[in-house]
Amino acid sequence: MSGAEKIAVRVTDITPLNELVTRFRFEPVNGGLLPTFSGGAHTVVEMRDGDITRMNPYSLMSDPFDRSAYTISVRRDDEGRGGSKFMHTRVKVGDEMIVSNPVNLFSLDLRAKKHLMIAGGIGITPFLAQIKQLDRAHGNWELHYACRSEALGSYVDYLTTTHPNDVSVYYDDQGQAIDLDSLLDGQPLGTHIYVCGPKGMIEWVRGKAAEMGWPREAVHYEEFLAPQPGKPFEVKLAISNKVIQVGEQESLLEAIERAGVDAPYLCRGGACGQCETNVVQAEGEILHRDHWLEDDEKASDTKIMPCVSRFEGKTLVLDR
């Protein structure tokens, strides 16, 4: 079996926060305790939609030491393949679901003298858990949180009331923006930067930090990619000797799994590297969408990350 260990949970609370974001609470079906986790960890939620099973990663936002329940916040993505829409429209309190054991690809560097957190939109969620972890250990942190508008500012009230001195909020529609130059310039030695948000924001922060001479290992980021829909295509799996069709609304990984072939994965969001698969032959264009492969690997079309990447062209043969 691939992926992290699974846990059967029941949805015990659904709280809409605003027009786009809804919070879900999961408790173990058997009444026991959930595994503890570390701030920044995610869980992969399985969504059974007829005979399609979608699995999406969501950051855990609850207190890592609270083993009675996990909470996640899901932002509705109307353009996506329907995972988030399924969570918003189909999941009801009392439903049983399967989630994975926590996996952390966005861990705090516990050597840091100070943790500087930069969040954009729904990227706030891993920080909520990290803040709880750091508060317990009396860690030194500061959060800069950019949201589209007050109405869409999930958890702003909670953050600014509990930590008025450590949290700064910026609203795009009011023309407010993080002054990154002076923010990075004023940091004490031993500070680590953590950024989670849209792709553009991550690139902006990483680029600026690199320009200002921050060491690469002091800049941490996480961006989950939701697999994007695309044109259907055909793939030949060389080892299992199968030809499969990837539908418009499913990922290559999901299509491989649907064909009964066990393929490795963890994050299903192009970040962990676990699903890396060798390309035996590609006549056409691989649409690389992951954060894992190096640019030269992408250019050579010898590898593909089937959790997020797709293909357009004549023939694709994979070593799977």
Partner: protein, 356 residues
């Protein structure tokens, strides 16, 4: 089954010995008649009843004496146990993992009673009954990692995971095969493996690291490693090489059967939940050649493996000079018959030794 703990030594008069049960469950590390480094990792989810794979942390007849030996090593050299400041949380993770595992797996030997943060730990074999506050170091006599690893067989490396690498930032290392925590502390996976021959070229460490970085909570893994030790010494550290290195020259055809030991490490890997660190317990099992030879399959196979082992490996493992003498002894137990695949003794199915 209740374990009869031995009172024995791993130094001086070397009274260490294995019972018949211990010999049968010895982790013979060769699954075929030859050996080469490989990414030999599998899930650590139990194993055959009474095998060393069955429990998460195996406790055997040597438990009390091994812990006495560890205490002696630490009294002479406190640097065998080190933990960089950011690793304390991982130490608590490890303490919890071991206490929960042992109390569940050996309820007659260990008890853990938890009431919120108030914990009571009872270790019957060592006569310990301590109450403390979880996550409050001032309530334990040592830091959490040192406290629990003074009560658990095997060495422990606690690896911080960051920047797509593992860093040896904490450990309890008193039963090692000639490497030093004090030297390796703060190093990363490639740095501390630098002395190993051939494996880098074969790409083994790149693949092994990738596997380790992805080890998940609740899904531990394991592998076996091995070397040779003259006399049943637990502490074969570089720090004490002057004491044990010369003992290798005391081997003779007369004493080799009793003195030469195969040293096998059961290495396991667990993700730690709160710190996202990885713990790497290295459990050492020793078995004298004469005891190994009571299993016909192992006798045949050990001879073939040692005979065909590449010079680089025999040199790195430190027995190249004694290899001819070992082969003279071992060849008596190899009648040329085929051996079954796998590491298990297969006493019921493998033929007895044909006498020459």
């Amino acid at each position: 089954m209740s374990i009869q703990f031995h009172k024995e030594t791993f130094r001086g008069d070397y009274s260490f010995h294995n019972s018949e049960r211990a010999i049968k469950r010895f982790p013979f590390p060769f699954d075929k008649d030859s050996y080469m480094y490989a990414v030999n990792m599998e899930q650590h989810r139990g194993g055959p009843a009474d095998s060393i794979y069955e429990k998460r942390f195996d406790v055997d007849e040597h438990y009390i004496s091994e812990m006495d030996d560890r205490a002696m090593v630490l009294a002479d050299d406190p640097l065998r146990c080190q933990s960089l400041p950011h690793m304390t949380l991982a130490g608590w993770d490890l303490l919890e993992l071991i206490m929960v595992s042992k109390s569940e797996d050996y309820p007659d030997l260990f008890e853990l009673h938890r009431n919120g943060d108030q914990w009571r730990w009872i270790n019957k074999p060592l006569g310990i009954d301590d109450s403390f506050t979880f996550m409050d170091e001032t309530t334990l006599p040592y830091g959490p990692m040192e406290y629990i690893t003074r009560q658990t067989q095997g060495d422990f490396c606690v690896l911080d995971q960051r920047d797509d690498n593992l860093w040896m930032d904490a450990g309890m290392v008193t039963t090692q095969a000639d490497w030093s925590l004090d030297f390796d502390i703060g190093m990363n996976f490639f740095e501390w493996h630098a002395p190993v021959p051939l494996a880098h070229e074969k790409g083994i460490f790149v693949r092994a690291l990738k596997f380790l970085l992805n080890i998940q909570q609740g899904a531990p893994a394991r592998r076996l490693n091995w070397t040779m030790t003259v006399n049943p010494l637990l502490d074969t550290s570089p720090e004490n090489y002057h004491k044990w290195g010369i003992q290798k020259t005391t081997l003779t055809p007369e004493n080799i059967a009793a003195k030469q030991h195969l040293r096998v490490e059961l290495q396991t890997f667990f993700r730690l939940p709160r710190s996202n660190a990885l713990v790497f317990p290295i459990r050492c099992y020793l078995c004298a050649f004469q005891d190994l030879m009571t299993v016909p399959k192992w006798g045949r196979r050990l001879h073939r493996v040692i005979r065909d082992l590449p010079v680089e490996l025999a040199t790195y493992k430190g027995f190249i000079d004694n290899r001819p003498m070992m082969l003279d002894y071992l060849s008596q137990f190899d009648d040329g018959q085929p051996t079954s695949l796998g590491i298990w003794p297969d006493l019921d199915t493998e033929p007895p030794l044909k006498s020459a």
